[in-house]
Amino acid sequence: MDIRKFVVGSFDDEAVLFPAVKKVRKAGYKIHDVYTPFPVHGLDGALGLRDTSLHTAGFIYGLTGLTTALGFISWILTRDWIQNYGGKPHFSLPAWIPIMFELTVLFSAVGMVLTFCYLCQMAPFVKKHIFHPRATDDLFVMVIECTSKTNVKETEDFLAAAGAKEINVQIAEAGWWLGRYDQDSKLFDNKSETVTA
């Protein structure tokens, strides 16, 4: 379990959020994450996140699919079970291009989606703490992690000055666990001593 203390500030306009992110980072606060209802362009850069390599993985999966198709078909038709199809050559590459192409796309798409789910820790029955239920509706929720040096009151004031509409402090699990969204799984009852801040 990875239970931490957070100061949560919710913004209702992405135009306010951007300068706020800049200010908060400049002031040295540790932004845990910003939860938004839609992809806000440039926010990943503003948060200093590096670009994802998911597309590179997709390329590698695609190549795997291509070689699988070529290797498998040529092994079957020229080694394992040779058949004479209308006197045509056993190694007939042009006729294999459609299936080679399809498997390239299939491997790439399936591989990328699985990688995406793995990287984002997403699957059925995976549960994560929701900092604000309206983060998937109309609020942009900035979550600042409290370290041993963080002054909570000061952080709250800083967020208010930066334009946050709602501010609160939450102690929550930072990772994921198996659970249902219709039940409050009590992950850390009477374990307040595990909180690091």
């Binding site: 209802p37 992809p39 597309h55 997709g58 399809e102």
Partner: protein
């Protein structure tokens, strides 16, 4: 960095009326949270009834064999493969809208992509039924898959276009499903987070995979969507190309033409958009989504219809010309004796009227923006495109090289028709369930274009539009 991307003021807004993010959610999620209307139940029950009739027709097909259909010598393919190609064609618009229009950065795709993708998936499911049940001994359908077996192992023929089709359709289905569902995840989380009932929280909690809206996740999500779009674009073109190879690689007159791949792809987009129009015009009305699927959306799709309809028309004329110019007796006879004339001449002219002549009316802006006319035309186009496949298959097969093996006039049996109606039932049952339980419009995507293309934001653009270049420069650069 300015958040507001400068976009031309003269372009129509993609979202009508003054809306904020919360209203977008409310408008789209409303139907999920409200009780289904009486109209929904009526439509749903009719669909299920059709589906059941289809199931009964298939029961007859399996229990008594393909003899339940009027196929025979020399018409080995008839309604079944016509329906297969027709449904696959319809399944093309969804991916075209979501993938190709995403790559072209067409903002209007956001209003219709979700429903069109769902439609794609359902249409491909329907399409897949026809070749599978046409096998007759359907319990051996898995023989088409290359798996190690005790029959040799006997592998399928990888040089055969029919096997290419197996790979193309199943890949297309899988990739479309992944593309659709990965796009749904954030919206399902939206429904989950505002759910009032326990059951809804549970179900949408499972379905949304624990989506949180984290910036890093969005970044990966964007990358995933873009690459899947990039993959789907050649994929969607390949699928109907390969379907056309089923015909084009044969030596049947009227089939072995090199024009088939582009002609089939254009036809598929044509019929797919017509089906999207049929569904969207009903959906926007019944579900009160006129602000998101605007007249501008309908007009844009009509433009695609008139373009692809004209490409199809060119292909028809080219075929006729080459049949004459190629000086091949058999080719000539198929086209000029048995296609435009002969026992099935009526179907050729029906196809020509529906696909080539009537869509040309969409050159008139008034008609492109007329909802009633668009709805009527969308039905006409789908009828026409069904007859295109019918003409290609039946008119090429019913007169063989040997007059002694010429077929009698082919009429489908009630169970052949029933199977087709059954796929309608399947398609609409799925669509009704989808429209009730899923957000029919991509909520997150609408929100991401709201500030650049929403009506209220567009109005603010008028000031910018009227500024001189110097003023505009000063205004946009003063805060840097």
């Amino acid at each position: 960095m300015s958040l507001i991307k400068y976009e031309s003021f003269v372009r129509e807004p993609l979202v009508d009326r003054d809306k904020n993010y919360n209203q977008v959610t409310e408008d789209i999620v409303y139907t999920i949270e409200a009780k289904p209307t009486r109209l929904w139940y009526i439509g749903f029950y009719i669909s299920v009834a059709l589906l059941l009739f289809g199931v009964y027709s298939l029961y007859r097909d399996v229990a008594y064999g393909i003899g339940q259909w009027n196929l025979g010598k020399t018409l080995g393919w008839g309604w079944d493969i016509t329906n297969f190609v027709w449904w696959v064609g319809i399944g093309h618009a969804g991916t075209l809208i979501s993938a190709i229009l995403l790559l072209f950065r067409q903002g209007w795709r956001t209003g219709v992509n979700r429903a069109a993708e769902a439609m794609t998936i359902f249409a491909v499911i329907c399409a897949g039924q026809f070749p599978i049940w046409h096998m007759g001994r359907v319990w051996m359908a898995m023989f088409v898959m290359p798996y190690p077996n005790t029959r040799g192992p006997l592998w399928p023929n990888f040089n055969s276009p029919l096997l290419w089709d197996v790979f193309a359709i199943s890949t297309y289905f899988t990739v479309s499903l992944l593309f659709w569902y990965s796009g749904l995840l954030p919206d399902l989380a939206t429904v989950r987070d505002r759910a009032k009932t326990k059951f809804r929280k549970l179900m949408y909690g499972i379905a949304s995979f624990g989506w949180s809206g984290s910036t890093k996740h969005w970044q990966r999500h964007e990358s995933l969507s873009l690459v899947l779009a990039g993959l789907s674009t050649p994929l969607v073109l390949s699928v109907h190309t390969i379907v056309s190879f089923d015909f084009a690689t044969s030596v049947v007159p009227g089939w072995h033409t090199t024009i088939f791949p582009p002609y089939f792809v254009a036809g598929a987009v044509f019929s797919g958009f017509a089906m999207v129009q049929t569904l969207m015009i009903i959906t926007r009305r019944v579900m009160n989504l006129q602000d998101y699927i605007t007249l501008g959306h309908i007009e844009a799709m009509n433009k695609v219809i008139v373009l692809t309809g004209s490409i199809v028309g060119c292909a028809y004329l080219t075929e006729l010309f080459i049949a004459w110019y190629g000086a091949n007796t058999y080719e000539y006879d198929i086209f000029f004796k048995y296609r435009i004339a002969g026992a099935y001449g009526w179907s050729y002219w029906l196809m020509m009227t529906c696909n080539v002549i009537s869509p040309q009316l969409f050159w008139f802006k008034k008609l492109r923006r007329n909802i009633g006319f668009t709805f009527f035309m969308s039905i006409v186009v789908n009828v026409g495109m069904w007859f295109e496949r019918f003409v290609i298959i039946v008119s090429s097969l019913y007169r063989d090289y040997l007059p002694s093996s010429w077929s009698l006039y082919y009429r489908p049996t009630i169970f052949e028709v029933g199977f087709y109606l059954g796929t309608f039932g399947l398609f609409f049952t799925c669509y009704f369930l989808f429209s009730k339980y899923f957000p029919v419009i991509a909520i997150a995507e609408i929100k991401s274009i709201l500030k650049t293309s929403g009506e209220s934001y567009k109005e603010k653009m008028a000031d910018l539009e009227n500024m001189s270049v110097e003023e505009f420069y000063a205004k946009t650069h003063d805060h840097h």
